[in-house]
Symmetry: C6
């Protein structure tokens, strides 16, 4: 019984399996909270491999990845980092938000992502060849188009790139029901609310509300909050600090929640 | 008997409880000194959980949060940081002014703020799953709109966002009476003075005087300072270094103190 | 017998005592060398408390303030920093030129400057509650209006702000007599010279000559320098590197020294 | 039996041998993934010398190159870095993407790349003269014309510069067959697709698809992906985040895949 | 018998003695190589005090000044820095080119340069009061008017400022004779050459040739170089990399050397 | 039998000897690869002194120059750096490309380059006076006119500046014959090719080809490369990444090689 509920949205499962067969690394792209982390956990179960997760950030050194010497009981002993542990154990190494990492820390991945599939531990004087089951998976959100944080083309060309996006509304509503235990009609109203805001994203340029925030909103509803309140504190509040934009979005949100509610009544009337 | 006197100002108590029930993190927003810290301390008492407070700043490393190896008696021993201690003990971890933290230090929070509720201690080689009572609460003041210090949307979307603001004047005056022991009419005059300056904030763009500075001013009055003097050194002086603006604010302040005083005499006449 | 000769210039002594009674922190503002440090030393004697002085600068870490672990005789022992020592002993902690400190080092002061009056030593795992006699006093010179070095409003609002300035000329001359042992008429001429330059400050925007430089000039006069020479090397030379401005100021200075001298002769004539 | 399949593309083998004979260093230039690393591995086999590979990056210190003192069993022992090991053992030292290295780290190469052929280990107090078989080979991609990352002319003048580029289409298709095991006609269609995009590079200024990405695409095809799908996730997706450009490139790609397919059918007809 | 040949140029000796009597610090200003260092060495001999010299630079930490803990024979022992040694031994501490120091390193001087004359060794937990013979002397060249490297007015106001400049030509020529052993007429020609270039400095804005470069040129002449050659390599070459300016200066230089030579012949003719 | 073949190009040998006699430091200027390093090695042999070479770079700390404390066998022992070793042993200390060094690292040279000739080892608490045979020689290439990397005039004025340049063509060709063993006519053609490009440098502003690259090209010719090929990979390729410029230069180069070849045939004809 897995706690990794995953709804496939296209060909990503097949592509991931093909990359695994051919021992080539995979790059997942897509908006925040669309399910990249869950997808990797799911594929780990499908392929029967452990997943070693590394959250990338500006301060991640190559020593944090490959390991370092540490003083233990008076002796200086080498300690493998999570990347080295993943390589040695043939696990899936998942580097979350790889674009956040310092590019110099990524240089250690070069020999792992071409025909060599080898990790050079220069400081330990060790060379580790990856077993066939080892797989490197990275993810990033291409919507952050900061020139400082672009991945270099020569880095991106080392990966099979799998583009992910939000689930279609019906399937997304099913996720809310499954995760938060609210009824389907309420789930549809919350998804409807998110959809109306995602469409407005083209004009306002904010990070659109993800499936994750919808699950959180659904959980608050399950705990007794009104749908409008839950939409306010989970979906709208994180979008922007600009009062005028927020007012516009609040109108959109309440209209979509009410509209969906109205439809529900109608549909209920039809059903009855 | 609690020393956490807290005046609820809206739905924040209910939302906090719902988030606690559903084990989702909470983000408190609002102006400096409006009572965010006191609110978290109050909710800790209401829920019967300890509060571990971390004041965020530019120099806070992820090691400061999760822990580090230290040499003790010749041995190298891992020492949990305050975040790890809060996770292990199921406490409320309150990260004050989280926007001040280096964004790379915040990456360690990702796996704690989604469905995993897990802390990866990469350097210690340990994985800690949070008990149900653990709760992460962050706060920040959205009025500081520095582009350098914006929280990323992908980070904000992980939280239920509870917006806080100042108490209504009558309740704020009651706080001054309770905290500083001055009489209610003096408390109202000081609140009146603050209100007149808060309104001017739209024009002058400074950080408006908080409940905290009013409490300080009330304490000076209780210690023998005149109300005008206390308003000068506690409310006006920190606002701006610009002489012209300060003169304008001083007029506002003394007019509001006197006006309130006049009203008080009138009201007294009416009472008599 | 104190070596802290201090001339009160207004209500600062009363305000300081009121803040001490109410256990709220104090921020001293005013130009360089107007006597802020001496005032704190004086108040330490008046209140019968030790003063722990910390000169703030860019490189002051929070470890320098609160303490650090150090290896002593093979053991790793925690060493309190000056702030922690001041808190534990209930002293006045005086942070000189606090605006120079890195803002992240100041975050450790937050819990000390609100109702908590508590110092969190995260690395030592210790929580220190300040005794009633502990008092935090900071100072800075608001004339340095660098945007990089502005104190945040949320920080300034935590303090009672006491504005200090130069003594009136007669009292400043008395200080010169007391400190350098020159006669009163020479002291008045040096003060006169400084006053003429302080007035020109509105046009030229330099840091005006402080009481401290007048004391130094008076000491050189006491050691045999001519008044004009002492004014040149102590008062004029540090003002500016711009030759044209310096020539203008030199004229001002010698005119005021001579004018004062002339008046003195006149006054002497009247006295006689 | 070598696993280094290498297709020579011009005079690079002869030039490399001449440089090896004369003991002068070699600089390889050319686009990402055109085979520079494989060429060095191949020449190592041809010349019967070991290859020590160093992936250069911003954080590579000269200590990482030459070595450092380390505490081992209570003693402080010098540990040679990979450059020193290569010099001492007379190997080929291959510094991949040398333009990424900090220029100060490269200063240690000066005495190795002129008539001295000597490595000064200042911290170890050792001077190592390279044996005749030692050879320094660097590579970089001149298409990255960042002013921050230009190699200094005085550095480039120390090398024999061998310019490399993609193989001609027929030979590149043979590589795909050899590496991924797909049939020649499919290999030709993928190469055709890459050629059409490489031509568009002059207009769009992105890093063109390399032989490496073609091999990856061929591997996915071998694992069951359609050619269009493999082209999408391996060739197109890493090129750009700009939707409009990507749409244009996708048209180019599918046209070239289909065009080649059509030709294949024709050719098939001719063959039959 | 002192090796400190010093030619006084004005009132600097008297001012330095007065400052020493009154225990106030001295700031020496003036162009590079005009004799500031020699002056301090000379005053050290006159006053019978040791001189501790510290060459300031960007990387000088406050620990370099006051001292640090060091591991010696397994124990951690505090080691005084040169400033602390100077304070404890009552020496003259000479901080050369103080404007080059990081301003945060200078904060440690504040308590030494006002009425406290005290050094706070925060890390060692020690407070050192300076004996009467301790004297702080700093120097800088105000011609470098970089905004990054301006000394703060509040720092400059702590010193008696003694402005130094080049010696008059006759006395400067005597220095050349005394230091390099050339004859007076050659010395005068070299000084004449320097004077002509110093005058051109107002137009060209370079650092004018100092007494130090004249001494070096005189030494080369004593070793056999021609005067023009010595002027070329010692006086002209360091001035500028701009060919056009250098040609102009070379004309000036050779004209002044020849003109002086001509005059010498004339003078010789007159003498004869 | 020296391996330091050096062709004197002017008065540099005499000037170097005079500076050595007078114990003043020498600054060598000139284009990359014109023979500065060889000249210092040659003078070391002429004067019978060891040469300690230090390649300067951004990361060179003053500790790298003067030495540091290191843990050896449990004890902390001071280890002299190469500068200190050179001073103590009376060697020539050659700091190559001194302009690359951090200016703060150069401050330690001040007391070595004036009348003191003394090295202050502040951290070791040692003062080392240089013996007469010690000589400091620095070099830099003034063609790099980066404002960030200008040597300060006050630093340059401490040296006798010896300007070096390329040898005249006939002598440069002799160097090629001597170093690479090619015949004189081929050597002249390669020099001719370099001369034509050096002349074009005034228009194109690149670093012109040095004697060093000519030697490398000559070596490739000796190993079997054609002259055009050797010119391409040694002389032209390092000059520029700009295709248009490179095409122009290639024309220049082949014209000069052929022109020289033609002349050679003609000359041969004349000879015959």
């Amino acid at each position: 019984m897995s706690n990794n509920y995953y709804q496939s949205n296209g060909s990503e499962v097949a592509l991931f399996k093909q990359a695994a067969t051919q021992r080539v690394p995979v790059m997942l792209t897509g908006p925040t909270g669309c399910g990249k982390t869950r997808f990797v956990e799911y594929m780990g179960e499908v392929l029967g491999r452990d997943v070693v997760t590394i959250s990338c950030h500006d301060d991640l050194t190559s020593s944090d990845l490959v390991g370092r010497f540490m003083v233990t009981g008076g002796d200086v002993v080498w300690n493998d980092g999570p990347l080295t542990r993943a390589v040695k154990s043939g696990a899936i190494c998942y580097m979350d938000e790889v674009v956040e990492a310092r590019h110099d820390s990524l240089a250690v991945l070069h020999s792992l992502t071409d025909h060599r599939r080898t990790l050079y531990l220069d400081r330990a004087g060790e060379v580790v060849t990856a077993p066939d089951s080892f797989m490197l998976v990275c993810s990033y959100n291409p919507a952050y188009r900061s020139s400082l944080k672009e991945l270099k083309p020569s880095f991106r060309q080392r990966f099979v790139t799998v583009a992910m996006t939000y689930l279609p509304p019906e399937r997304e509503a099913e996720v809310l029901v499954s995760e938060a235990g609210i009824d389907l009609s309420a789930a549809k109203r919350l998804v409807n609310c998110a959809m109306s805001i995602r469409k407005a994203d083209d004009i306002f340029h904010f990070e659109p509300p993800s499936t994750r925030v919808l699950v959180t909103a659904a959980k608050l509803v399950a705990a007794g909050a009104s749908e409008l309140e839950a939409a306010e504190v989970c979906i709208l509040a994180p979008l922007s600090n600009d009062g005028a934009i927020n007012d516009g979005l609040r109108e959109l949100a309440s209209a979509s929640l009410l509209g969906a509610a109205t439809k529900r009544v109608d549909a209920g009337g039809v059903k009855a």
